[in-house]
Symmetry: C2
Subunit: 219 residues, 2 copies
Amino acid sequence: MENDLRVVEKSKLFKGIGEQDTASMLKCLGAYRRSYRKGDCVFRNGERITAVALLLEGAVHIRKEDYWGNLSILHEISAGEVFGETYACLDGGEMLNNAVAVKNSRVLFLDVKRVLTTCSSACQFHGKLIQNLLSVLAQKNKLLTRKLEHMSRRTTREKLLSYLSEQSLREGRSSFEISFNRQQLADFLSVDRSAMSNELCKMRDEGILKFDRNHFELL
Amino acid sequence: MENDLRVVEKSKLFKGIGEQDTASMLKCLGAYRRSYRKGDCVFRNGERITAVALLLEGAVHIRKEDYWGNLSILHEISAGEVFGETYACLDGGEMLNNAVAVKNSRVLFLDVKRVLTTCSSACQFHGKLIQNLLSVLAQKNKLLTRKLEHMSRRTTREKLLSYLSEQSLREGRSSFEISFNRQQLADFLSVDRSAMSNELCKMRDEGILKFDRNHFELL
DNA sequence: ACACGTCGGTTGTATTTACAACAAAGGAGA
DNA sequence: TCTCCTTTGTTGTAAATACAACCGACGTGT
């Protein structure tokens, strides 16, 4: 689709590369698309990843599931964002978690080998692409560090406030929406859903925040 | 010192680049060294980082400290390892935590701008260096993900077992040393020290593991 | 209107944790 | 050897959490 190109061009991976050049680079890199239904796995635990994934449309959760079906959500990928790059950049890197589509999704794949191997002539923006990839990795690194910050809080309340504050800051206002439902948020913060729900209501009663479904407001 | 070069050459950042070329690249990149006493800050919260740090000797803890003096250890840097690369790679990136020397240490700094800007002629290994940087970022990413795995465990016991299992796996045997003392380990896993100590002893009594100071053995 | 499934909130109980305070063990230095 | 200090283990209590079970609201499809 035409729309896809606009998503790609606006992504952090192709930042600073024009729409025209982006299009020609996609060809040069042998990029290909695939569709997934809600619930499908894009990457599976143990799989060897050789391609970076760029989400064109939909939403993907990066999850860790252990033997006993214990689920923990690492983070959510929205349209325009990149995932799988960590494992793709480590030669023969085995994926250590699952990437699951939580909405019907379309994904663009870019073979890392071809991204990293500078092609002699055509793609003058190849260097830029590699720098962008570096930047994407660094940003994900920062994201993980911030998540560790939430997780290192001792109580459910602190974890919630740490997470909600970040979302509020990210949106630039005290009122915002989150993309997780309660169970997903609990799996993301690694807490019990009912205890979390309880804590949210207590905070509401104390006048710390307001919420309705996915809409939150910090006071 | 002569010994420094050997550490640099063996680091993941200069992997695949010979000793000779490494030496000439360090000059070309304008690398410089600094010494720190135990307790000194290498990077400080809020500081703008423009150089990647390579630890030549000693040990550094990457820490997060909040307003109330609450301490959390993100991870430990040993000799030969790189740190600060996340923030250095994000243009004008503010450091969001502290890098503190926990032993007397020496650090080599490499300006990122000069690493990323390919110099036309002399350094034929420049491309390799950039790829190595990419790889270092990806590996740190994986490290953070694994730490998130420990942190997402609900109980102190599970966190301990998750951490100790990883260390055991990393060493390749069931008997190994860790570099943290009890308080540091507790700050690393974000649990209460006394509760953790208690849990360790319970597990020892149950025959799950043996330990003496920093030496552990999983049974 | 009805059954059905999903989602969020509520409650009670057993377990686990944090916190504080103290005791014991070991090392460094006088 | 003695003292001082750091590290580690121990204990009791209050607080927080996990877990399970249940209820009500809402939406969908028949």
